[in-house]
């Protein structure tokens, strides 16, 4: 069942990434996490490799964690941040970076599908670090890795996503990835912030966070888009927080060992209450650490020009054969 592993050049999204490849990345991240925990954080995997980050729009953690991941693995890393690309076409910019010898281009862009458009035009591997509202595959891999580390499995877990599902690329990537790995996915959020057709994929649409988190093993809170109020999608943040935010009260309906996740930046008191963020079930800080490990794994596997390094250990612990 190893599909396309040797030829996959780009990481565009979890929708198109086979379950087997997701498992391989998770497996590699375990090794990387070990490297991270060492007193001397240095590995040779990216020696002589060039990584360029091109971020159109804001980012703090994603940008820094990719940068650190590349440096921990002895790669050359450069970062370009631009506010907007209306002056120059993005494909011209990326093509130029490609011609400068980049092996990996990490791209964040405000429009869905931009990495998909660019990937066939360049030799470098394109890593999607967020394309509009479409996908943010590396963050979802972080989330799935964190769940896997905490629960030891993905299959059969009840995972509840609450909040703004429509505008959140992390939510989309998580849904595609979790469904592939056999989790039961439920979503709850204002009807104005739920995308169409999810139920046909087997996602359970819940009326309230309480319904979604009942018997949940995992709760992921999704950040409310900052202009949702101005665009008339929700009345105000107070009501949103009350009806769709996560509070300690909701957690009592979940399984006792539920883990609560947020990809940051969190809107304190809107997405979830301060008590939940700091509470015993929260694994938000661990997600941040895992963020670097996953990015190291992803860079390692996609840094070889023209191909994914493939599956380091097909029989490894994360690599149960698909049904």
């Amino acid at each position: 069942m190893i599909t396309n592993l040797k030829t996959r050049k780009d990481l565009l999204g979890l929708r198109e990434l086979p379950a087997q490849s997701i498992r391989s990345i998770l497996h590699s991240a375990e090794t990387m996490k070990f490297v991270l925990s060492q007193p001397i954080k240095k590995a040779p995997h990216l020696m002589g490799k060039s990584v360029v980050e091109l971020f159109v729009g804001e980012s703090i953690r994603t940008k820094l964690s990719f940068e650190l991941a590349a440096q921990y693995m002895t790669g050359t890393v450069s970062t370009i941040s631009v506010g907007d690309t209306t002056r120059e076409r993005i494909r011209d910019v990326v093509t130029a970076i490609d011609h400068m010898g980049a092996d990996v281009i990490i791209l964040r862009h405000p429009f869905s599908g931009t990495p998909h458009m660019i990937a066939p035009l360049v030799q470098a591997s394109i890593i999607n670090a967020g394309d509009g509202i479409n996908e943010q595959p590396t963050q979802a891999l972080v989330d799935i890795f964190t769940i896997f580390q905490k629960k030891g499995r993905i299959k059969g877990l009840n995972v509840a996503l609450t909040g703004d599902i429509l505008h959140n690329p992390i939510a989309h990537s998580n849904i595609w990835g979790l469904l592939k790995l056999g989790a039961n996915v439920r979503v709850a959020g204002p009807a104005t912030l739920l995308p169409a057709g999810l139920e046909t994929l087997g996602v359970q649409i819940c009326r309230s966070p309480r319904e979604a988190v009942t018997d949940a093993d995992v709760i992921m809170s999704m950040r409310l888009r900052s202009d949702a109020v101005d665009r008339g999608l929700v009345p105000d943040e107070r009501e949103y927080a009350r009806c769709f935010g996560l509070h300690e009260q909701e957690l009592t309906y979940a399984k006792p060992d539920v883990i609560v996740m947020h990809a940051l930046p969190v809107r304190r008191g809107v997405d979830m209450s301060g008590a939940v963020i700091a509470g015993p079930n929260s694994v938000i800080d661990e997600q941040v650490t895992n963020g670097v490990a996953i990015k190291m794994a992803v860079l390692y596997m996609f840094a070889k020009k023209g191909g994914f390094y493939g599956d380091p250990d097909p029989e490894g612990p994360c690599c149960q054969p698909e049904k």
């Binding site: 869905s112 169409a196 665009r231």
Partner: protein, 432 residues
């Protein structure tokens, strides 16, 4: 003189169907009979062999974008009319979304003048409904009609204000000026870029709900019912729209509607992989909508097949999906796509199909009878209904190479097009 020999004449208006010879002298058809052997050896007669082909009145498109003046990098009147005749259209009505907008008598005159000089087909300008197309006050509808405009349309910017449109319908009706309405509520469509559904969700693209079209279709039908004035609904694409128009007609509203081949041949699946060539306005819909549009064409709810030919520059299509331009270059594929998806599938008879591309549009724009008979103007389209060909965008006459049909096989190919007795396309080659 030109003799079209042994083609199957299909002229639905006067119920003419059968293998006939057609003799053209000057701008008119002078003889139409099963056989005209006396001209076969005549040196002064140019013979077009049409055995196995269909000979019909020249096709009429009520809805295309020629982009001149203002956007000549996309299309101009010369290239647009060449594309028209290549696709079998002898008369085309061009939308007012030019720069400046076609919103006054001089701008109408300009287009007519350019078309007379460089046009390969008859061009009929369509003006704006409102002043400068801004949706607030009425445009000089009567003056534009006197200058030669055949209709008014809010194609560039849908009239959001129902009161303005209501007045426009009444005012235009007093001058017998057809009003073509672009049914889109921008407040509902918001930032959407494709049809709402699983495909939009899977691609993370902001959705356009069907209600953005349907609510305006409903409003316009009701305005027509109340005022008794005719209204035409352009390029309807959803199951709901078809149902509303069907209801309106049953209630006696003077509504007419058109759709385009893309809406009965393709679904939103064509967008898969962020294919900007399939980014259209209105967006491609779901299979149920395609089926409903076909049913609407069958039962007469949808009167006309138009092209909504919208050429785009290469650059504007090779872009991020949300930033890419809307539209497809469709004059050269409309007939073939209609034949492939309506006639060859047995959904529509040849007569009904041709009626919706000749007589029905002629009625809407008051362009005459659009039929083949002795004495009629020699606007004639000859096509081989069975020839299959592969769509290759670089072969388009249009400047717009944007087509979601690229590489697809279509069945039905235009062989020759004659405009006012002049051969514009001969054996698949444009002669201008």
């Amino acid at each position: 003189m030109i003799l079209i020999r042994k083609g199957r004449v299909v002229s639905p208006r006067n119920k003419l169907s059968g293998v006939m010879d057609v003799l053209i002298d000057g701008e008119a058809i002078v003889k139409l009979a099963p056989e005209l052997p006396q001209y076969y050896e005549d040196e002064n007669v140019r013979i077009i062999e049409a055995t196995g082909c269909i000979v019909t009145p020249g096709l009429i498109d009520i809805h295309c974008h020629l982009c001149e003046p203002g956007f000549e990098s996309r299309e101009d009147i010369a290239s647009g009319t060449r594309a028209a005749v290549r696709g079998g259209f002898t008369s085309i009505a061009c939308m007012p979304d030019t720069q400046p907008k076609t919103c006054s008598a001089p701008s109408v005159t300009y287009i007519l003048d350019r078309a007379r000089r460089v046009g390969a087909a008859h061009v009929f300008p369509v003006g704006t409904i409102t002043r400068y197309g801004q949706g607030e006050q009425l445009a000089p509808i009567a003056e534009m009609k006197m200058a030669g405009a055949v209709a008014v349309s809010d194609e560039a910017e849908p009239t959001a204000d129902g009161g303005v449109l209501r007045n426009a319908l009444k005012y235009a009706n007093s001058f017998k000026m057809p009003v073509l309405t672009n049914c889109l509520d921008r407040s509902i469509a918001a930032t959407g870029v494709m049809n709402e559904g699983l495909v939009s969700t899977l691609h993370g693209l902001m959705p356009i709900p069907k209600s953005a079209e349907q609510s305006v279709v409903a409003r316009n039908v009701i305005l027509s019912l109340e005022t008794g004035c005719p209204v035409h609904l352009s390029h309807i694409s959803t199951e709901g729209s078809v149902e509303i128009v069907r209801w309106g007609k049953k209630m006696g509203a003077r509504v007419t509607a058109d759709t385009c081949p893309q809406y009965f041949s393709l679904t939103e699946e064509a967008v898969t992989g962020y294919n900007t060539m399939a980014k259209l306005d209105p967006p491609l819909r779901a299979q149920a909508d395609v089926d409903a549009v076909v049913e609407g064409l069958r039962d007469g709810t949808i009167d006309i097949i138009s092209t909504d030919h919208m050429p785009c520059t290469e650059d504007s299509k090779i872009a991020e999906f949300a930033r890419a331009a809307y539209g497809m270059s469709s004059l050269e594929t409309a007939l073939a796509a209609s034949l492939t998806y309506l006639y060859h599938t047995g959904k529509l008879s040849m007569g009904d199909l041709i009626y919706k591309m000749t007589a029905a549009p002629a009625d809407l724009l008051q362009l005459g009878r659009s039929e083949l008979r002795e004495g009629a103007r020699a606007d004639i389209t000859i096509f081989d209904p069975n020839a299959t060909w592969k769509v290759r965008r670089e072969a388009f006459e249009s400047k717009g190479k944007n087509t979601p049909y690229e590489g697809m096989e279509l069945q039905g190919e235009v062989i020759s097009t004659i405009v006012s007795g002049s051969i514009r396309v001969l054996d698949r080659m444009v002669m201008m």
